[in-house]
């Protein structure tokens, strides 16, 4: 597969994530859109990893090139899990105090 297809796909997913962050008001959905962005990055990294791997294979059949990209993805997933647990805890805490998860109401702090 031409790598550009993957890049386009991932950029599209990433942009959809950004648009979601910009247009939705529900903190949970916004957070989900951020997760979508991370997934787009993951896919891109894997695609690049395979691209580099393929290029290296042509020279050396035992190469491990590209493995770093996939491990990076692994770490991103791991970190995302930690981030999600903290983030959802914060959202739940907010909900317990205000009974709302609407980010538009987050305007006590301004100016």
């Amino acid at each position: 597969m031409p790598i550009q297809y993957y890049i386009y796909l991932c950029l599209a997913l990433f942009s959809i994530g950004i648009i979601g962050v910009l247009t939705r008001r529900n903190a949970i959905v916004v957070f989900m859109c951020i997760e979508l962005m991370l997934n787009a990055v993951n896919l891109l990294l894997v695609a690049f990893s395979k691209m580099h791997h393929g290029a290296a294979l042509a020279i050396d059949s035992t190469t491990k090139a590209g493995i770093d990209g996939q491990l990076f993805v692994f770490f991103i997933m791991v970190v995302a899990a930690a981030e999600v647990s903290v983030g959802l805890a914060i959202i739940v805490m907010m909900y317990r105090n205000t009974h709302s998860v609407d980010i538009n109401f987050l305007n006590r702090l301004k100016n």
């Binding site: 790598i3 890049i7 991932c10 990433f14 994530g17 962050v21 903190a27 916004v30 957070f31 951020i34 962005m37 991370l38 787009a40 990055v41 891109l44 990294l45 690049f48 990893s49 691209m51 580099h52 290029a55 090139a65 590209g66 770093d68 990209g69 491990l71 990076f72 770490f75 991103i76 970190v79 930690a82 981030e83 903290v86 983030g87 914060i90 959202i91 805490m93 907010m94 105090n97 205000t98 980010i103 987050l106 006590r108 702090l109 301004k110």
Partner: protein
């Protein structure tokens, strides 16, 4: 490596200290001792006496610069804990956890001062920020704290997403996560850009994300809200040690890449610097709350620290160390006094000069240092930044703008001094002010003045 390992272990110790004892003061002293041990361990490595040697496979590289920064950051934290320990105790029920999180942040700081690849940078940043989200939220019943942490979290993870996209693009172009690689050269049609398009785009995205972390305009928006909403005692920590660490990471990430980025890089950076200085300084002028004023001032100070990135030479790195220390100590000092007051308004300082002359004196020294008045640490820090830029051949107009905004900054810092000395009233001191605290503040002020008289004290560490 010592710093990373010991700070993680210290975090674990702190986690359990809350289970072993319920005396908050004891927990505080354990933390202070742990910090001393941490500083000692780091110093052992700085002087090459002893270190836990781990084969990091080139993911971390321990250079003098980063190690010295560790020492400075840990020392600043120690001072912070000693001065504001009382407030950490009163911040909530989970005192031990707060200290544990602070140590985890320090672990992130020491990773950021020594990373040698994008993976470690990413992990370092996450280890740095995730505890901060929690600390921001620690005042659970307070809606402002809630809101601040949710904002911080949403925007922080958004910027993480941006950074990861940048990393992915750079990886696509170079096939490696190492810091200093040169991508295959691809000339654009106009011949303006030497590096691969993807790499440059990735660098821009990483730049945006790092600019977010150090609150450079126009990515600074989270700063005032989060610093304002977070419990004051943690704002103090966030605005100082953490921010300085962000700059260290920033300069580590970009110092090898300026050649790839080409001349446009400087234009963009200059734009960011000017915007940061403008927004930080001008918006700070009309704030009603000292806490919020300080958060804008931290943006303004970030504008100055960005000069280190602009010049990105040895002198800039030295200057950044000096700046970090001078800025951190001064801000920690002001916050230590601020959080003793009932509210965060300017009027709360009224008459402090009369009732607590020692405190007022120390606060004044801190404020003068932030304003960059000579004979305080802040002066040479700013001078260093600008001089490094001048040495690098930076444009004159940028210099003029910087000096101009430094002049504006004096206005809002002096509002506090004015309130303390020239206004009548009784300061609404809430927490009891012990003589130990006073002594600590005066020592801090002396330290700041010492930095202003002999900044070589810090800089010579660098050349030991």
């Amino acid at each position: 490596m010592n710093a990373i390992i010991f700070s993680a272990l210290a975090g674990v110790v702190m986690m359990y200290s809350g289970i072993i004892t319920s005396k908050k003061t004891v927990i505080k002293y354990i933390a202070a001792i742990a910090l001393v041990v941490l500083i000692a361990a780091n110093l052992l490595q700085v002087y090459g006496i002893w270190q836990i040697s781990v084969d990091t496979r080139d993911m971390l590289s321990f250079e003098k610069f980063g190690l010295v920064f560790n020492t400075l950051a840990f020392t600043a934290t120690l001072i912070y804990v000693l001065l504001s320990g009382k407030e950490i105790e009163n911040a909530g029920v989970n005192v031990a956890e707060y200290f544990a999180l602070i140590f985890f942040v320090l672990c992130g700081v020491s990773i950021l001062s020594s990373f040698n690849g994008l993976l470690m940078m990413f992990l370092g940043i996450e280890i740095l920020t995730i505890p901060l989200y929690i600390l921001t939220a620690s005042d659970k019943r307070n809606l402002r704290s809630n809101e601040a942490s949710l904002k911080y979290f949403l925007m922080g993870s958004f910027s993480t997403g941006i950074m990861l996209m940048g990393i992915a693009l750079v990886y696509g172009a170079t096939g490696s996560f190492a810091l200093h690689t040169n991508a295959p050269v691809a000339l654009s049609a106009t011949g303006g850009i030497k590096a691969s398009f993807l790499e440059v785009a990735g660098m821009i995205l990483m730049f945006v994300s790092m600019a977010f972390k150090v609150s450079a305009a126009p990515f600074h928006f989270w700063t005032p809200d989060v610093y304002d909403g977070a419990p004051g005692v943690f704002t103090s920590f966030m605005a100082t040690v953490v921010k300085a660490a962000g700059f260290i990471a920033f300069i580590r990430l970009f110092e090898g890449h300026t050649a790839i980025l080409g001349p446009t890089w400087k234009i963009l950076l200059a734009f960011v610097i000017v915007a940061t200085l403008l927004i930080g300084n001008v918006t700070a002028v009309f704030q009603q709350s000292v806490k919020r004023m300080l958060s804008y001032s931290s943006i303004a100070q970030a504008g100055f620290m960005l000069f280190a990135l602009y010049s990105s030479n040895d002198m800039a790195k030295e200057g950044l160390l000096l700046y970090s220390v001078a800025y951190s100590l001064a801000t920690i000092g002001i916050f230590a006094v601020l959080i003793k007051l009932k509210d965060y308004a300017f009027d709360d300082f009224n008459g402090l000069g009369k009732t607590h002359p020692a405190l007022a004196f120390a606060t004044t020294v801190c404020l003068l240092s932030l304003a960059g008045i000579p004979l305080t640490g802040g002066f040479f820090a700013k001078y260093y930044m600008l001089a490094s830029m001048v040495k690098e051949g930076g444009p004159l107009w940028l210099l003029i703008v910087a000096v101009l905004f430094a002049a504006v900054s004096v206005y809002y810092y002096f509002r506090v001094i004015q309130a303390m000395y020239f206004k009548e009233g009784t300061p609404s001191v809430q927490t009891e002010i012990t003589s130990g605290f006073k002594a600590g503040m005066v020592l801090l002020a002396i330290l700041i003045i010492l930095l202003g008289i002999a900044p070589s004290l810090v800089l010579n560490l660098f050349y030991f």
